[in-house]
């Protein structure tokens, strides 16, 4: 099963480079941590923003760099492939605590040397009490800490790592070059009024920007020097010539705008790399690559300077380089992001601002090269719109058929009009791209985290509303409720109790986000990232201070389908048909449906009540209305950037909850939808496993009934198909046809496909060695199946396999 790329399909060099990264065991690299620790301790008197710029400078000038044999695109994140750098300033205590367990993790293991471990202990000692995690927790009220410790809301990942979830302005980077940024910075720096307090802060920001850009340039020039040195030692004249080209490329793009496609792609990769050395955040995305690179491609092709084969090879090399980048997360956070993804999204397709189909030759080359590489990175998204050609969709299905979960589809037909309604200018709205998994933002104009703030466990909230506000799992009452379920006289009583509890927890998610944003702004500002986002430089502000043009964020709500199914079962069986008494229901869920009577109640809940995903208005509308209570509450709040510059500063809903359905389910007792205690809840906006029995059209209809226009953080729908289901041309046409209906008529938001047979998954679980390159869609992203923990593997196996 390993190395499923066909011989002859890619060049030998690509095949070797791919193999090398794929077979490298994940490890860590402590270089960055050591440089940051040194820079912080040498500059303790400096403002944090300067300290961070100097730390970045020290790292970029001092870290190990290398160029692999055969590489056309250069640049490494750490001293080895797949060795995750350490970002001690966010959180580091967990590393010495977990370091002896890292290679024993059931999923996402890391393999450390003794030297690594020694380094980690030293580094952690220096950072005691200085890290973002501690400072953020200290800013939180006891109540917020308790709610998180009770696992009703989870936001740990936002304090243990950076923000990211962003795409920067590659159009501008390619047009002005890095010197262009230095000019712009110095232009604004000169105008700073140092007699004002605000001016002093801006002065620091511009100084930090200058240091950061210059160290970025120095980093690129180190590759110029390295490649020229290598070219002199290498005997193969062809490779030597390649190294000279690489050296020239680096020389140009270190300062000037790129002169050709090859240089443009190299610069894009360097930016992508640097952002992931500066910050620990993930979902750093590449935006609409087929658009901003197209002018370079077209000119080079017209002039005969490059061939499509060479472009394909460069792209393939870039995808391998993206996979070489790695991130290590604490186990608590890893469970939410199973498979160790970096979610580096590339978006293709969509429309031009005139509403024309934006697909071009480069879109096809990107799609096909990703299809040949079959890696987890980049995360490839296609922007669907009603005039997209069948030819391109067909090519998409052909890649989907390869069974590694890509590309996913986002829908212009809902996203663009809704962005415009939110206040996004038309030109920007038409230029949106997917970020990370499925969420969306306008590259280079959006603040951080178009999604990925707090994770709210919806089922814990529903249970609290049935117990007078008591959270049975933790034994705490965070917000007194409207009574106990057994005293409710109607479904309306339950719904009112839900309203009351969900409003409370919605506010708590915002309170947690506000603390975290405040801490991140103060303690770990990102400088380079801010430089590449409009209008940070002209405003003299980092993104977190309100530098971006737009600012909309979302948290994630987990357990959507379970909420709908629970409400429907209660309304129908308890209040309408009196098949189950209130006492029976409570007894059944408290006993986890053990014992014959309680087990029977479970089967009644499962089989006698409608389920979300079957196009049944009864449950679909109950779910919509319940979710809307949460969404309406969000309208009362703003982000920390409100009135500080950006348009928006609002929250919206989101369901692209990555693999959080498994850990979220593991803290939820039995629920009224018949779900057993501590098993996974439903994933994203997809139906609960095995409950959608009417096929994909019914699923599409149900999903489209959600208030998708208000869930701009993403309406995630996973569908699993068996390979046989799309093997014939007629099956492919039918798949295209239902996609068109889902997107054009039903205004669906997103869909992605797992084309893997159940047998294959079961075999891979049993025999991981032979299935190391088997990739599945986990949620909004893909992961190597064998890197997942057994419970996540089981969850994926359990999701309904649709037949066409």
């Amino acid at each position: 099963m390993l190395q499923k790329i066909k011989t002859g399909e890619v060049s030998e060099r690509i095949s070797i480079l791919r193999e090398k990264v794929l077979t490298t065991k994940p490890s860590i690299c402590t270089e960055r941590a050591r440089f940051y620790t040194q820079a912080y301790s040498e500059n303790e008197d400096q403002p944090v923003i300067i300290k961070r710029a100097l730390a970045l400078e020290k790292t970029l000038k001092g870290m190990t760099i290398f160029i692999d044999d055969g590489e056309l695109i250069v640049g490494n994140q750490s001293s080895q492939h797949r060795a995750a750098p350490i970002f001690p300033e966010y959180a580091v205590d967990w590393l010495p605590e977990e370091m002896n367990e890292l290679d024993k993790r059931p999923g996402d293991a890391f393999f450390l040397t003794d030297q690594h471990k020694e380094d980690l202990v030293d580094i952690a000692a220096w950072w005691k009490g200085k890290v973002l995690y501690d400072k953020g927790r200290a800013l939180m009220s006891q109540e917020l800490r308790d709610i998180q410790d009770a696992s009703i809301i989870k936001a740990t990942g936002n304090l243990t790592s950076g923000d990211a979830h962003i795409a920067v302005d590659f159009y501008k980077i390619l047009a002005t070059g890095l010197n262009g940024y230095l000019d712009e910075i110095s232009h604004h720096h000169r105008k700073v009024k140092l007699f004002e307090q605000e001016g002093i802060r801006k002065d620091h920001f511009y100084k930090a920007l200058t240091i950061s850009i210059k160290s970025f340039q120095a980093f690129i020039l180190r590759y110029q020097v390295l490649s020229i040195a290598l070219s002199k030692t290498i005997k193969d004249p062809v490779r030597s010539e390649e190294l000279i080209t690489i050296s020239n490329n680096c020389k140009v793009i270190a300062e000037q705008p790129p002169e050709n496609f090859y240089q443009a792609l190299q610069l894009v990769y360097f930016v992508q790399l640097i952002l992931q050395i500066e910050s620990n955040g993930h979902s750093v995305s590449l935006g609409r690559m087929d658009q901003y690179l197209y002018p370079f491609y077209k000119e080079d092709i017209l002039k005969g300077k490059i061939t499509n084969e060479f472009v394909a090879e460069l792209l393939e090399n870039t995808w391998i380089k993206l996979l070489s980048i790695n991130k290590i997360r604490p186990w608590s956070h890893t469970r939410f992001s199973a498979g160790g993804p970096l979610y580096q999204n590339v978006t293709i397709g969509g429309q031009t601002v005139d509403g024309l189909d934006a697909v071009n030759e480069l879109s096809f080359l990107i799609l096909q090269s990703v299809g040949r590489m079959k890696l987890t990175q980049p995360n490839l998204s296609v922007r669907f719109h009603k005039n997209i050609s069948d030819k391109f969709l067909n090519e998409c299905i052909r890649i989907i058929e390869k069974g590694f979960g890509m590309p996913a589809f986002n829908n212009d037909e809902i996203v663009i009009p809704e962005l415009i309604k939110l206040g996004v200018e038309k030109e920007d709205a038409y230029n949106y791209s997917a970020i990370g998994c499925i969420e969306i933002a306008v590259p280079g104009k959006w603040g951080y985290r178009c999604t990925g703030m707090s994770f709210l466990n919806m089922m814990r909230v529903l249970l609290a509303s049935m117990y007078d506000g008591l959270d049975k799992y933790s034994g705490k009452t965070f917000h007194k409720g409207l009574g106990n379920f057994v005293d409710f006289n109607s479904y309306d009583d339950l719904f009112r109790a839900w309203q009351q509890q969900i409003k409370f927890y919605a506010q708590k998610t915002i309170e947690i986000d506000t603390v975290i944003d405040t801490a991140i702004e103060e303690y770990v500002p990102d400088i380079l990232c801010s430089a590449f986002v409009d209008s940070c430089i002209s405003r003299g502000k980092t993104i977190k201070e309100g530098g971006s043009k737009y600012d909309f964020v979302s948290g994630l709500q987990v357990g959507i389908a379970n909420l709908g199914n629970s409400l429907a079962a209660i309304k129908k069986l308890v209040f309408e048909e009196n098949k189950i008494t209130k006492e029976q229901l409570i007894h059944a869920i408290e006993s986890d449906f053990e014992g014959r009577e309680d087990e029977k109640i479970r089967y009644m809940l499962l089989n006698f009540a409608p389920k979300y995903g079957n196009d049944d208005d009864y449950v679909d509308i109950l779910l919509r209305d319940a979710y809307l209570e949460f969404i309406k509450e969000l309208d009362n709040y703003h982000t920390t950037r409100y009135n500080r510059g950006p348009i928006g500063c609002k929250y919206y809903a989101g369901t692209s909850s990555i693999s959080a359905n498994v850990p979220n389910g593991s803290v939820v007792p039995a629920t009224p939808d018949g779900r057993k205690a501590f098993t996974p809840v439903a994933e994203g906006s997809s139906p609960s496993s095995g409950t959608d029995v009417l096929g994909p059209t019914a699923v599409f209809k149900s999903v489209a009934k959600l208030p998708t226009d208000k869930i701009m953080g993403g309406v995630l729908l996973n569908q699993k198909l068996s390979p046989a289901a799309i093997s014939s041309d007629s099956d492919k046409r039918k798949l295209i046809s239902i996609l068109r209906t889902f997107f054009t008529d039903l205004k669906g938001w997103h869909v992605q496909y797992n084309i893997v047979s159940r047998e294959t998954l079961l075999a891979a679980k049993k025999d991981p060695e032979n299935y190391r390159d088997l990739i599945v869609r986990v949620a909004g992203y893909c992961a190597f199946f064998t890197s997942l923990s057994p419970d996540t593997q089981d969850d994926i196996i359990a999701r309904t396999e649709q037949t066409l």
Partner: protein, 296 residues
């Protein structure tokens, strides 16, 4: 009465279709894969493997159901009103097949996938059982579907009086007609029906409707021989107006249903027919100028 509505059906006709399965059939083919479709009344189905011994099925009373140690024992012939067991068994081991649905009920279900039919040029397929054996509401239903501009296919054995067929002519876009055998004796012993009736009806229909497709279930011991298939194909060719023939290999997916209904299955344990065994028939049909397809 219907026994199933299956949305997103992609292998019976063009585009994405919703299939309406009507209950009740004048034939009782020994190989039938939908035995619950044969009776015009309700059928009780019991899947012992799902039984959790909740014993709620004992409550409605009456003869035919007794409780044993490993599960429930059912004597289908003794049960007077199967419909009273609907939604009684929480584990769904015991279910009732068959539901009285009004034309409006069915239209509501049909309309749910309307945008998908439009995009894919799909529509509705009426199947069974024998859809043409249904009463007067069938015509109303067809008219209403047509009024919504939805494409209609009917899967039929044509083993019905001509009058039942003629009422549908104006509304049906495609007839998918089962032609099982041309010999009266064999037809009678394997299906309980009359081949002559079917053959005559096919001839009449072929004269009056331009879109008839012949479908042949290829069944071991019954018609799975060169000589018998040749006669079927030759008959199809003789119709002149029919251009397409589908050969559907016998499968045993219905076995479990016979157990659940407490019915004997003559074809139990018979080897399923593989698509590749049909190549010779397909080639012959093509030689004779027909468009031939294999597979269900």
């Amino acid at each position: 009465m219907i026994f199933n509505i299956q949305r997103f059906s992609t292998h019976d006709g063009q585009g994405i279709r919703t299939m309406i399965f009507f209950k009740g059939c004048p034939l009782h083919c020994l190989w039938c894969c939908n035995p619950e479709s044969q009776s015009f009344g309700y059928s009780l189905m019991y899947d012992r493997s799902l039984c959790k011994n909740f014993r709620d099925c004992l409550l409605p009373g009456g003869k035919g159901i007794t409780s044993g140690t490993t599960g429930i024992n059912i004597e289908p012939s003794e049960i007077q009103h199967p419909e009273k067991f609907r939604n009684v068994c929480a584990s769904r081991a015991l279910t009732v097949s068959g539901e009285e649905k009004s034309v409006d009920d069915i239209l509501t279900e049909i309309e749910k996938d309307m945008p998908f039919y439009l995009e894919s040029e799909g529509g509705i397929t009426l199947s069974g059982g024998e859809p043409l054996s249904q009463g007067a509401e069938l015509k109303t239903l067809l008219m209403e579907i047509k009024r919504r501009n939805i494409n209609i296919s009917i899967e039929t054995s044509l083993h019905v009086p001509w009058g039942m067929i003629i009422r549908c002519l104006d509304f049906t876009d495609t007839f998918l007609v089962d032609l099982k055998h041309t010999d009266n004796g064999k037809f009678k012993s394997y299906t309980g029906g009359k081949a002559d009736l079917v053959l005559t009806n096919i001839q009449k229909l072929a004269l009056r409707h331009k879109n008839v497709i012949i479908r042949v279930p290829v069944i071991p011991d019954f018609n799975h021989s060169e000589q018998e298939m040749k006669k079927i194909i030759d008959f199809t060719v003789s119709l002149k107006t029919v251009r397409e023939i589908h050969l559907l290999p016998f499968h045993t997916l219905g076995t479990l249903k016979y157990n659940m209904l407490g019915m004997e299955y003559t074809y139990k344990g018979k080897r399923k027919v593989d698509n590749c065994e049909l190549t010779g028939y397909k080639e012959y049909a093509e030689q004779m100028g027909l468009i031939a397809k294999t597979g269900g």
